[in-house]
């Protein structure tokens, strides 16, 4: 088995004041020793299993936070591997800083469900649990996929994509030039190649230095209030925020853009977006809002789907129930203050979390809090996925930069272009790992698209 150390934040967001970063793998002690220094002076590598040390997290010699490191020695740990858990002060900023330090010192960002997978493959879980393990991996990977889609909307991803395109066309040019020597293809000169590589390296470096400014990770679960117009989404938002933030009227389609609020629901922090009602619309302005809303439903961490109990289910409602798909969701049957005509059984057949409330007078609010707390507390709900997907992008940029540095050095040393192109493709591969595309496919496609080659 591949036992390279992996790391992730293993505490859910909004759960108390402690954040835990878990590292698992053969070299996890060595990695943890680089970022943690105990008060006693003992290294984690020298400590016994099931022991803990108090100390601080350091970035080179700068103190980042006080922390407790707990050591588990293989096979006596959750994953069956060497594990270190660094408990530091909660809050997203600190936990993410610590995670980043751990990743920079040699750990890989954990793939969705990877701790559980390793536990299983190392025989820590019973064979009968295989199916449950598979369920966890699937659920977590769906959360990861949503987070990755969200990350791809960011300005950062657009910059990565533009550098990627530049590298792919350079690789394609080198490939066309090598694969079609009899064709009339422009010579690749060492100078222009070296210039392109330097430019890409500079852009990647600029990207690395602005990584945190470009994408602020907001605290809380990205939550969307969805439903067709006039089901009471804005009233629900008002109930949750306790403030009169959205404009509430009786004309369908009043809320045209996405409004965001951060609220504490029970122990859980939610980042609420009230979206324009999802329905087919002819109004152009409203349509933009509706498109944003649909997109949000696919990328958010939690959906609060609102239905009007005083009206029968319409096609738009049914479409919403279908579009929820794999995202964790609560179906909220609103307006219990009015006479109910809605087909509750239909909703219950489609989704398992259903709660009846009156957003107007607050009836059923406690039930809603309870159900949200339950969902956020389940094992399948991976709150740190957003950070990890951000860290994966950053690591991909870092790896691509390193490959290009090496390649530029090889080019200056006089290496032939076949070797140089392998280096460029390695850089592209680091970036493509984020999307699962294959280097040879994209390069070959680009050759045919941009070069007139053939017999």
């Amino acid at each position: 088995m591949n036992n390279t150390a992996i790391a992730a934040i293993s505490t859910a967001q909004g759960e108390g004041g402690i954040g835990v970063i878990r590292i698992s793998g053969d070299n996890s002690f060595a990695i943890a020793d680089k970022v943690f220094e105990s008060i006693s002076g003992k290294t984690l590598s020298s400590m016994k299993g099931y022991t803990a040390a108090f100390g601080y997290i350091k970035n080179n010699n700068e103190k980042v936070d006080e922390a407790i490191a707990t050591v588990f020695r293989a096979p006596h740990s959750y994953t069956g591997e060497n594990v270190v858990e660094l408990s530091c002060h909660g809050g997203l900023f600190i936990t993410r800083e610590v995670l980043r330090l751990v990743l920079e010192n040699g750990a890989q960002p954990a793939q969705a469900g990877e701790f559980t997978k390793r536990a299983f493959l190392n025989g820590k879980l019973d064979l009968t649990e295989a199916e449950a393990v598979i369920d966890i991996i699937s659920a977590k990977s769906r959360a990861a996929a949503r987070a990755a889609i969200l990350a791809k909307d960011g300005a950062l991803w657009k910059k990565i994509t533009s550098i990627k395109s530049k590298l792919i066309s350079t690789a394609a040019h080198l490939s066309a030039w090598a694969d079609y020597p009899d064709e009339d293809i422009e010579e690749v000169s060492e100078d222009s190649l070296s210039l392109t590589l330097s430019e890409c390296i500079a852009e990647l470096n600029a990207l690395l230095s602005t990584f945190d400014k470009g994408q602020t990770i907001k605290e809380g679960i990205d939550t969307v209030i969805a439903g067709k117009p006039n089901t009471g989404k804005s009233t629900l938002m008002n109930l949750l925020t306790g403030k009169n933030r959205s404009i509430v009227t009786d004309i369908p389609g009043t809320t045209r853009d996405v409004i965001e609020e951060t609220v504490l629901v029970g122990d859980i922090i939610l980042r609420l977006s009230d979206t324009a009602g999802i329905r087919e619309t002819g109004d152009a302005v409203e349509k933009i809002g509706v498109d944003i809303a649909k997109n949000r439903v696919n990328t958010c961490g939690l959906i609060l789907a609102v239905f009007d109990s005083s009206k029968p289910l319409e096609d738009d409602d049914k479409a919403l129930l279908d579009s929820i798909g794999q995202t964790p969701a609560v179906a909220i049957i609103n307006k219990t203050d009015l006479e109910s005509v809605i087909d509750e059984e239909f909703i219950k057949a489609k989704t398992k979390n259903v709660v009846k409330i009156s957003a107007k007078n607050g009836e059923g609010y406690d039930d809603l809090v309870k159900i949200i707390t339950e969902i956020a507390g389940t094992d399948n709900f991976n709150a740190s996925e957003g950070i990890l997907s951000n860290e994966r992008q950053r690591l991909a940029v870092l790896k691509a930069r390193d490959s290009l540095d090496e390649t530029l050095a090889a080019l200056s040393a006089g290496m032939t272009f076949d070797a140089v192109n392998v280096g460029i493709e390695e850089a592209i591969e680091s970036i493509l790992e984020l999307t699962g595309e294959r280097v040879s496919d994209v390069v070959v496609d680009n050759v045919f698209h941009n070069f007139c080659v053939g017999k």
Partner: protein, 624 residues
């Protein structure tokens, strides 16, 4: 009335480049083999360019030869001009290409088939195929029935072939032969869905009608380098080729008549390759290009026909004559055969395993254009693998699956059976992620021991191979030990190559590691250098210079191999595995990958799906 014509272990349908390698391999491995050709004079025909090899294709020919196939030897015997392409672009992309005498190549291959023990060559069109308990029954147009255990389909462009020249189109095989008009229906009845692909070829013109006086010449290498590790002496190059260009006038004529192209008129349904476009395709798709290059290549020593590489077309004959006449040198060219497009039936290669056996039809194999590839070399490579596997199966031995990390042949087959082909598949060096280790110079190191194990490498050839490896190892040791002291002679060489002079002694291997310094450069100061085969020096030099890259790629191969070794069952219904995403379930059920490694290369199977497969595989294994 049908009659029983005989029983064979292996039958090969089609005697083109794929069929030949398949039949020879099966017969040489001891199977009673029969090979059918529609026309006895079309065995080993080259209906397109009169050349073998080229970028990545040259790698394939070397690999075929290293495994014990025939293409490389015959190409050497029939070569007219040979060039190593891409010198100066790096060893990974060095590729050998030879102009060959087209008729001689065909005759030589036919003769080899005739002389081969265990092999019968028949002129017959196969019209029907039926599955039996013990194999298949093949029926010919003359109603002969053959009982066979295994069948290799290598029908090329003959299967349902239709030629298009402008508004004219008719059923035909390549070069005016009969098409295989009935087999397609029989394959459909058997349950193999077929689809249409398209390819094309340029005109052939009379040598004496070409004015060569202003055309750029292209000469072969001196000395020419052989494809085959068997060939000792090639003799000299026998011909030169010429280069010309299209111009604005050519473009104008083509654009004026583009509506008469069957492709643009919508008559052709087949999917053509992007990399082998007709001239009209190039002009429409790359309209900003003012001119396109063409090569004028002789078809043989006993013919005046000349091939116009780059000038494929399916425009009407009268338009072809007009646009060819706009090209410098061809103003008065006499067109002996017009250019044409040909459409043909082929299968979806994802229906096959990496052994090239159909998943749903045991003992049925496919190779070449029938599998959706394009090119003589791609066809021959698959033919060899299909022939070997049919024979191994009959002998009750383990099948041959070539790793993608070990050869271009393995890469080609893995791409076909894993990703399928939406257009005719051509080999390119950019398709291999391991190209710094899969070089044409070391095909023998990579594959000859395997060819020996299979039984296609003779004692003599294997001894020669082992001797060469021993000499290579010795030479490596020698350059590691030999120290060159600093001095004027060596420093003059180093400085003239723009690299730093020595101040203390340096080992030969360290000097050779410098990108600017070659073996030849060091000859004057390398007093103890033995007389060795040029290929040995070539391999040693590459291994020294690219050591870092080679080691890195070898580590990647090791990683890949771990996943390739995790075998998946061929009969599992992936819809039963709930953790997989729907798309992954569908794709996995279609491809039925043989290993986790192959599964991970299927588009639509995510890393999370791979994890699910790993868990499932592990729980299954522990159950037993």
């Amino acid at each position: 009335m049908n009659y029983k014509a005989g029983e064979f272990e292996v039958a090969v349908i089609g005697a083109g480049h794929a069929g030949i390698e398949a039949a020879l391999a099966a017969a040489r491995l001891g199977c009673r083999t029969v090979i059918f050709t529609i026309n006895m004079d079309a065995v080993g025909n080259c209906p397109c360019n009169p050349s073998i090899g080229g970028t990545a294709k040259g790698h394939l020919v070397r690999e075929i030869d290293a495994l014990g196939g025939e293409m490389g030897r015959t190409a050497d015997e029939c070569f007219l001009q040979s060039r190593m392409l891409n010198r100066g672009k790096g060893p990974a992309v060095h590729s050998l290409r030879a102009q060959i005498d087209r008729r001689k190549y065909s005759d030589t291959m036919k003769h080899k088939l005739e002389l081969q023990q265990n092999l019968e060559l028949h002129q017959a069109e196969i019209t029907g195929i039926k599955q039996t308990d013990s194999g298949y029954i093949l029926t010919t147009r003359m109603l002969a029935e053959y009982d066979v255990k295994a069948v290799i389909i290598a029908t090329g462009t003959y299967l349902g072939g239709r030629i298009f020249i402008g508004e004219v189109n008719y059923e035909s095989g390549p070069d005016g032969t009969f098409p295989a008009a009935f087999l397609g229906q029989s394959l459909k009845e058997l349950g193999l869905p077929l689809r249409r692909f398209k390819t094309g070829t340029p005109a052939r013109v009379l040598r004496s009608s070409i004015d060569f006086s202003d055309l750029e010449e292209q000469h072969g290498d001196d000395p020419p380098i052989p494809f085959s590790y068997d060939t000792e002496d090639m003799g000299d190059n026998k011909v030169i080729c010429h280069i010309s260009w299209t111009n604005e006038k050519t473009k104008e004529i083509i654009l004026k008549n583009i509506h008469r192209s069957p492709l643009y008129a919508g008559d052709i349904e087949g999917v053509g390759p992007r990399y082998c476009p007709s001239l009209e395709d190039k002009i429409v798709r790359f309209s900003e290009k003012k001119r396109h290059q063409l090569f004028i290549e002789p078809c043989g020593l006993d013919t005046e026909e000349m091939y116009l590489q780059g000038m494929s077309s399916s425009l009407p004959e009268e338009v072809q004559i007009k646009f060819y006449h706009t090209i410098k040198g061809l103003e008065n060219a006499v067109i002996m055969r017009p250019a044409y497009a040909i459409e043909y039936d082929c299968v979806d290669p994802t229906e096959m395993n990496a052994t090239l056996e159909f998943k749903r039809f045991k003992g049925l194999y496919g190779a070449g254009q029938f599998n959706g590839s394009s090119g003589y070399e791609e066809a021959a490579a698959q033919g060899l693998v299909a022939g070997i596997n049919a024979a191994l199966k009959i002998k009750g031995k383990e099948p041959l699956i070539l790793e993608r990390s070990g050869s271009y042949i393995g890469t080609l087959i893995d791409d076909l059976v894993t990703k399928g082909a939406n257009e005719p598949y051509r080999m390119m060096t950019s398709r291999s992620e391991y190209r710094l280790i899969l070089r044409q110079d070391n095909a023998d190191v990579r594959l000859t021991p395997l060819g020996r194990e299979i039984g296609l490498i003779s004692d003599e050839r294997f001894e020669k191979f082992n001797r060469k490896q021993a000499l290579k190892a010795e030479e490596l040791k020698r350059i590691q030990k030999t120290v060159i002291p600093p001095g004027d002679e060596i420093n003059n060489i180093l400085v003239s190559r723009e690299t730093s002079p020595l101040t203390t002694g340096a080992k030969l291997i360290e000097l050779l590691r410098r990108p600017q310094i070659s073996y030849a450069d060091l000859a004057p100061i390398d007093k103890t250098r033995p007389e060795l085969d040029a290929n040995i020096f070539e391999q040693v030099e590459i291994e020294v210079k690219y050591e870092g890259y080679i080691e890195k790629q070898l580590r990647q191969v090791e990683q890949l191999r771990k996943l390739e070794n995790k075998k998946l069952p061929s009969d599992f219904d992936y819809t039963e595995l709930n953790g997989l995403r729907l798309e992954a379930q569908e794709k996995l059920n279609k491809i039925k990958p043989s290993s986790i490694g192959q599964a991970s290369r299927i588009s639509g199977v995510s890393p999370a799906d791979v994890n699910v497969l790993l868990i499932w595989l592990s729980s299954k294994r522990n159950d037993k």
